[in-house]
Amino acid sequence: MTKKNIRVLVAKPGLDGHDRGAKVVSRALRDAGMEVIYTGLHQTPKQIVETAVQEDVDVIGLSLLSGAHLTLFQNVMNCLKKRGMEHILVTGGGIIPQEDLDELKKIGIKRVFGPGTPIDTIVDYIQGSVNK
């Protein structure tokens, strides 16, 4: 009864109209027993962070296929910092080139899941990191 449910915000920052992947991941996390809140498309970093605050989530999963990840993920991290919400685990997913991974890690994106990542890898990573 007192078991804590992991709450995850799956978010689509910026002008990117493809959310098949975000929906598949949302569904998989649901089936793994998590409470998943999906923002819908075209979110600003501020919208994502305010939503994360109100929903008191443990994890934000940013999904992005437009190529603007360096800018937008950075903005999300800045907003999180401004709100004092650095405790939230932030991961990324989508079409993200190998050479940008270091930069993303540096700004605080803990893990990036590219195309073809097995769903279990994502579930295990989130469960492992949140319950730590």
Partner: protein
């Protein structure tokens, strides 16, 4: 904890969000929190919105909230979606219809899973509504899960209950059945741009004619989010209903009903907790199920026996 409560009473959203999580997770600190805030509640107008899934409850709430913001009222919203009984997980999708409100400091939106409770609500909903009320929101809107015909618990909690329906869900006999049609203070026929809307409005009005002895005339409002028509009528109806409640002393009665059902729900929860506590049962359930399967005892006698054991 005291600091969180102070921040909540100032209306800070992060503190409100944190306290809702504690309530959802049945934290042992909840009684202390609720004790501290109870006297700060009672100012919000609590609106319940219910209806079958896909009728447009979230979209309606988004539109109502935008209209209230123009009137300078602050709004707290709780959207409830079903928790899977298989995985315990949930996909909470109500706020997608109102994400434009996410950055408005006068609006707070929280999505919740039912976490195993039937009736369209979740067991912590009373506490969550009190938290939103105490945080200073003028309006608190509770959206139930997309219910069927009999999930009517919302009416025991809200000051004003809105039932949302759409054209094409059935003939006039459906409107005459008991259940969800009995709890409406306001009917909204959503998607009124669709064929058959006038007929649905008429059927509901005919059904309501038979309640002619009631003091409150339940309005039936056609609404189209696509055309953007009907929202000011909905707001007027909500305000009229509140005026009616205040003038006729019904508000006091309704709030008493809410506290009564909250109290009963809390007692039930605590009794369940006490009775089904693992340490007390120590495998009794398992062995009783075996006994029943072997036809050595029937379920009724087994239940009696276990309860007698616990209460002895």
């Amino acid at each position: 904890m005291t600091q969180l409560i102070t921040q909540l009473l100032k209306g800070e959203s992060a503190a409100l969000a944190r306290l809702i999580t504690l309530v959802e997770n049945n934290s042992p600190t909840v009684p202390e929190v609720m004790k501290a805030i109870h006297k700060h509640t009672g100012t919000a107008h609590i609106i319940g919105v219910t209806g079958t899934m896909g009728t447009g409850k979230s979209t309606l709430i988004g539109a109502v909230t935008r209209a209230y913001r123009k009137r300078d009222k602050t709004v707290g919203i709780v959207g409830i979606d079903p928790t899977s009984c298989f995985s315990g997980g949930a996909l909470l999708g109500d706020r997608i219809r109102m994400q434009d409100l996410a950055t408005d400091p006068g609006v707070f939106i929280r999505s919740m899973g039912t976490r195993g409770v039937l009736g369209g609500l979740t067991s912590s909903i009373y506490d969550v509504v009190e938290l939103l009320d105490a945080s200073g929101k003028d309006i608190v809107i509770v959206e139930t899960v997309g219910v069927g015909q009999s999930e009517i618990d919302i009416a025991k909690m809200a000051d004003t209950t809105i039932v949302v329906t759409v054209p094409g869900l059935g003939d006039s006999i459906q409107t005459m059945k008991a259940g969800i049609t009995e709890i409406a203070d306001i009917f909204v026929v959503n998607k009124a741009d669709q064929p058959g809307a006038d007929e649905t409005v008429l059927q509901l009005q005919q059904m309501l004619c038979m309640n002619h002895l009631d003091e409150w005339q339940i309005p039936v409002i056609p609404l189209s989010s696509i055309k953007g028509t009907g929202i000011s009528e909905v707001i007027n109806a909500i305000n009229n209903h509140m005026d009616f409640l205040t003038e006729t002393n019904h508000l006091r009665k309704r709030r008493r009903t809410r506290y009564e059902s909250e109290l009963l729900a809390l007692i039930k929860k605590k009794v369940m907790h006490f009775v089904l506590d693992e340490s007390r049962l120590q495998g009794t359930i398992e062995s009783m199920v075996d006994t029943i399967s072997r036809k050595e005892m029937d379920p009724h006698s087994a239940a009696e026996k276990i309860l007698k054991g616990i209460l002895a």
